[in-house]
Symmetry: C2
Subunit: 355 residues, 2 copies
């Protein structure tokens, strides 16, 4: 027997992130490709075609495709249709795809970019707060399946992210909550400064920048979710479970916010978090008027949790915090197994408080 | 405007390659995961279920799934079905997938591994010569589409490759040709020693090892096909075109062999390759009894070439050689544009000789 070890020389990919006002119409684009003539294909959320899509296509001399609005777009069917449109346009390995929209658009288009001809370059233009602080950052791409959300996807980094806060000016309230839930989570697990800012002016652009910076710092340290990056799942184990129980009729932001509350409570109940901190956390989330979704049942939630990607050999694993701004490292695992009996008293409390 | 640059820390993935006899039944497996108890799911070509599949599943205490034999298996439909089976089995991020079969199985299962829950570990067991020297090495994964072969896929490296030459003992002649065409190509572009060995005993295990080693050397230098790796496309521009014209009724190995002949001729015709070398090349391929496929037409071939991934801005690019064992670097591009008029006299010659 002969053994050889292959060490593939994987090229580092750098992502340039731009945050500011009125970036879309400037000459950012020329600098990105050092003046080289580039073919762009914009893939926009249908709802954004009139607002920005057509204008941007004309500004960049780009082709424009649209995909339907809404979470159902993150499906194999919509992906198949998009890939076909790209083949028909004759998109090749030198073409750059531009995703214009919220998290759904970014996740789908990034996944398409990662598998079209084994990968083409792409640029993200998030137009929601959640898209800017969460979906755009970190290279995670995905579509949903009948078995759960984000179960098919890849890790694939864009060439650039262009966060133009001007695009948030017409954002509806529910979208602000979606973004804020992620920003506050970042405060709880990583940066108490974000939590403090989040207590005050929640539309402060500085808050957006700080949240993006925090996520970048985490992702740079651990791109493939082997360790530190797992802390981003804080609030999402319960949050995803609640969304599943509600058959995705519960807005993501509200599910994550309630997830953060319950997982903070769990952190206190297991003896890691002080009573002062957990009280402070509960107080801030009061303004969200959180409640359990229609159709909630304990059994349904536990069943949904068992499909969770973070589960290892049948155990449920949770990210936990020991103070505001700090997730527990647990020897680099950044999560620990929580038995069903440990979890159940937190669920009792959740049902009594938010039922 | 504020600019931040993300430098994702992409973990290097090492692939361990084992070449030898009777590897499947040894304790190689324990060493691979350092004794850690691991859940394996074998995905085998249907035709191999009886021969090796059931026995290996029992040896590894693994679950066993099968996929149909034949190139049509590299489709979105078969992929969707496989992903569904994995979800139903409850395969999670800690499970290791094992692909058992030829190039088709390896390409499909590797692609599935790369996108299932954003990537799970996998091991390749190639059971054909082509699988060992080509498909298994280099991390390219793919499925075919209505618009062409391998147009959807990823670059994703396996944890290990186990090439057990024992599995070749029942290989049919047409599969030997498929493998030999790739091995000889490797001789033409990279290692004259392989070419010399290929002239003599074509079933020499040393030849397999040398070919694997050559491909590894190329892929290590350029995993994502930015430069050197492009030389592996030698013979494939024309070869893929011929396969498309024949609606994939032409065996891959024969298409690649004829592609290598035509692209060697083109290298001579453009003044790069000596007449002595091109004559030597033509002589060796005589034993393949090459001919153009049924349904061949010049127009059909040119049309098929325009869907080629290697095309850039409407130009056709070819890898060319200047001696046996050496592809031309062209300043690191490793290919050059060939105009239609330059190409046509090579096609005239091909039609006269192999029509």
């Amino acid at each position: 027997m002969k053994k050889i070890v292959i060490r593939p020389n994987i090229l580092p990919r750098f992502t340039e992130v731009y945050v500011g006002r009125n970036l879309l119409w400037g000459d950012l684009w020329k600098n990105l490709f050092e003046g080289k003539k580039t073919r762009f294909v914009i893939i926009a959320d249908q709802a954004l075609k009139e607002v920005y899509g057509t204008k941007l296509a004309s500004h960049l001399n780009a082709e424009l495709l649209t995909i339907p609005s809404g979470e159902k777009t993150k499906s194999q069917d919509v992906l198949d249709k998009l890939m076909e449109e790209l083949f028909i346009l004759g998109v090749n390995k030198d073409t750059v795809l531009i995703a214009l929209g919220g998290g759904v658009t970014l996740d789908l288009v990034s996944f398409a970019a990662s598998i079209y001809m084994r990968g083409v370059q792409h640029i993200l233009i998030p137009t929601t707060l959640l898209g800017m602080v969460d979906a755009a950052i970190g290279g995670k791409t995905a579509i949903d399946t009948a078995f759960g959300k984000n179960l098919i996807g890849s890790i694939y980094h864009p060439k650039a992210i262009v966060a133009d806060v001007e695009t948030l000016s017409t954002l509806p309230e529910t979208e602000w909550v979606n973004g804020l839930a992620e920003i506050l989570k970042m405060g709880l697990i990583f940066d108490a400064g974000i939590w403090e800012l989040g207590k005050k002016d929640r539309k402060d652009p500085e808050l957006i920048l700080k949240a993006i910076g925090a996520k970048i710092e985490i992702v740079e340290q651990d791109s493939t979710e082997q360790s530190l990056r797992r802390i981003l799942n804080f609030g999402h184990t319960i949050g995803h479970g609640l969304e599943a129980v509600a058959r995705y009729g519960m807005p993501h932001g509200r599910a994550v916010a309630l997830g953060c509350v319950v997982e903070s409570y769990l952190s206190w109940q297991l003896g890691y978090l002080s009573v002062k901190d957990v009280e402070g956390i509960l107080a801030l989330y009061d303004s969200f008027f959180l409640q359990l979704p229609d159709g909630y049942s304990r059994q349904g939630l536990l069943q949904a949790l068992s499909y969770d990607k973070k589960r290892s050999s049948g155990q449920m694993r949770f990210v936990l915090i020991d103070e505001i701004g700090h997730a527990m490292p647990f020897d680099g695992a950044y999560c620990r197994s929580v038995s069903l009996s440990e979890l159940e008293s937190s669920l009792d409390w959740m049902e009594n408080t938010y039922g």
